[in-house]
């Protein structure tokens, strides 16, 4: 679905990607993690064809995104971090913009709006940022495009809205779709994604399925110094003890959904310990 081969991309003199290659497949919801300025948004823009690589090849849904052909654009929906909505209401958005997306599902759109409690009467100019964000998420999900890109979708959402967002995404069928969610809020991705990709130092640091992580790692809180000494990564917990990432013992098959924040920190600070544990 998405193939980036030896991509190089710079913003002026600032190198974002050097020899960056990644392959992403349908049937997955990817959580894209990385530091500020590591190139998460750049990655989404490259995939959407909004910026062009200086070197390398990009193939998305058998199209070259740069060409921005209609057949490509109708299969991709990007929810940017900062977005623009026309000054219409949710009903008119459906009426005027849904026809551009062949798989658009009006019932889903109305259902998502209902779950998110987005008012149907006022135009977007009269709505709060959070309400507009929810509306654009509903529209993007209902487009049913094979590729859905979300850049910091939970920014601007309150606690209730975040749980509504999780509810919607957990119900979503993504068998023939690829959804990529870039976020600083690793906690917001827990329970939703089935793969984690971490971008760091102008390249892809990690691309791992949640099942693999669950099978190979444990995320536990302990005061036992012997266990802490064996850990891959550990940090003090405010309430006492240490929060650790530990190699999974053989007698436990699955642990709970991995703590993505701890996983991210382990990948950034102790990659030499983490990756062998994942490849076990």
């Amino acid at each position: 679905m998405i193939n980036l081969r030896s991509v190089q991309f710079n913003y002026g003199k600032n190198q974002v990607y050097h020899d960056f290659s990644v392959h992403m497949f349908s049937g997955n919801i990817y959580g894209l993690l990385g530091k500020n300025g590591s190139g998460k948004s750049t990655f989404l823009k490259l995939v959407a064809g909004l910026i062009f690589p200086q070197k390398g090849k990009i193939d998305v849904l058998h199209h070259i995104p740069k060409n921005r052909k209609v057949s490509f654009l109708s299969q991709v929906y990007l929810i940017p971090e900062e977005f623009n909505l026309p000054d219409v209401n949710t009903e008119k958005l459906l009426h005027y913009y849904a026809p551009f997306y062949p798989n658009f599902n009006s019932d889903e759109y109305l259902e998502f709006l209902d779950i998110f409690e987005v008012p149907s009467g006022p135009s977007f100019a009269e709505m709060s940022l959070g309400q507009k964000k929810k509306a654009v998420i509903c529209f993007g999900l209902a487009c049913n495009t094979p590729l859905l890109l979300m850049d910091e979708p939970t920014n601007g959402l309150d606690i209730t809205s975040k749980s509504q967002w999780k509810t919607i995404l957990q119900r979503l069928s993504y068998k023939d779709r690829c959804i990529i969610i870039s976020s600083h809020q690793a906690k917001d991705l827990e329970g939703i994604i089935n793969r984690v990709a971490i971008i760091d130092q102008a390249g892809l640091l990690m691309d791992q399925s949640i099942v693999d992580i669950q099978q190979n790692l444990q995320f536990i809180l302990t005061e036992n110094q012997d266990i802490i000494a064996q850990s891959i990564y550990h940090e003090p917990h405010i309430g006492g003890g240490e929060y650790i990432v530990l190699q999974q013992s053989d007698n436990i098959l699955y642990s709970k959904f991995p703590d993505l924040e701890m996983l991210y920190k382990a990948a950034i600070h102790c990659p030499e310990k983490l990756f062998p544990a994942l490849k076990r």
């Binding site: 823009k45 209609v70 940017p80 000054d87 005027y96 913009y97």
Partner: protein, 270 residues
């Protein structure tokens, strides 16, 4: 597919839904400025304020100014990162987006401008004629008539010929295309930068044409005509050279600028 009629229809509908308030405000601003200008002229120059010549000048001056502003700001979405993403990601081809722009900036704009101008013009010509009727010096034959753009010979004032009006409209479209290209090319302050570029282009062209004039003498671009009284030839500009330049500026330049704008939209990065 580069063009689909149903998609183009959808695109125009969505464009209208997004921009109708903006276009209405633009029209209201045009009406306000025209009314203000007409009132000022009436107060300053009384019964001679809106004769046919002034009407023609006002019509074309307003057409060029308002048209260039409208065309130069049509792609304002491209200057704003968030709006540009929406604009570029909407599944319509660049050709359809360009055709929609052409539709709104040329025929729709001309019709709206024409209607707006003449609504005010009819009103103020009537007012001036009422003032003149009450004036003892004025005669019935002196009544000011509303100008006609489609049939200019209808007016008492021997104003511009149909050919001149046609050429002015071609010039208007060329100016529109230049400002449209500026909107597509410049990423920030597009209108101001286009305006400055326009002055630079005019300056450059004036200098270039002077140089071209000199070079053309040596390169056969001019015809030598022998005078009966003198052995020295008199140089006339070649008919073909003049014809090519004239036709280029009349018909081809706008097309070239719109094609360039098309590629700039297509290659635009955010």
């Amino acid at each position: 597919m580069l063009f689909s009629f149903s998609r183009f229809q959808n695109y125009i509908r969505s464009h209208w839904a997004e921009y109708n308030k903006r276009y209405l405000l633009f029209t209201l601003a045009m009406v306000s400025i025209m009314l203000f200008a007409a009132i000022c002229m009436l107060l300053l120059d009384g019964n001679n304020a809106i004769d046919e010549k002034v009407q023609y000048i006002c019509y074309f001056f307003g057409l060029f100014v308002a048209g260039c502003i409208f065309s130069g700001t049509f792609l304002s979405a491209l200057q704003d990162k968030d709006r540009a993403i929406t604009y570029l990601m909407l599944p319509a081809s660049t050709l359809e987006k360009l055709l929609c722009a052409l539709l709104f900036t040329i025929p729709v704009f001309i019709v709206v401008y024409h209607f707006t101008f003449f609504s005010i013009d009819y009103l103020f010509v009537a007012i001036v004629n009422i003032i003149n009727d009450s004036n003892i010096i004025a005669h019935q034959d002196d009544a000011i008539k509303v100008i006609s753009i489609l049939n200019p010979s209808n007016t008492a004032y021997s104003g511009p010929s149909g050919k001149v009006i046609f050429n002015l409209f071609l010039g208007f479209i060329a100016a529109q295309s230049f400002f449209f290209l500026g909107g597509a090319y410049f990423q920030r302050f597009a209108f101001v930068k286009t305006l400055l570029s326009g002055f630079i282009v005019i300056l450059f062209f004036s200098m270039f044409s002077t140089l071209c004039f000199r070079n053309a003498i040596y390169n056969g671009g001019f015809d030598a005509v022998h005078n009966y009284y003198s052995t020295e030839p008199i140089y006339n500009s070649s008919y073909y050279l003049v014809s090519i330049v004239e036709h280029f500026f009349k018909y081809a330049i706008a097309l070239l600028l719109y094609i360039t704008a098309y590629w700039h939209i297509k290659e635009r990065e955010i």
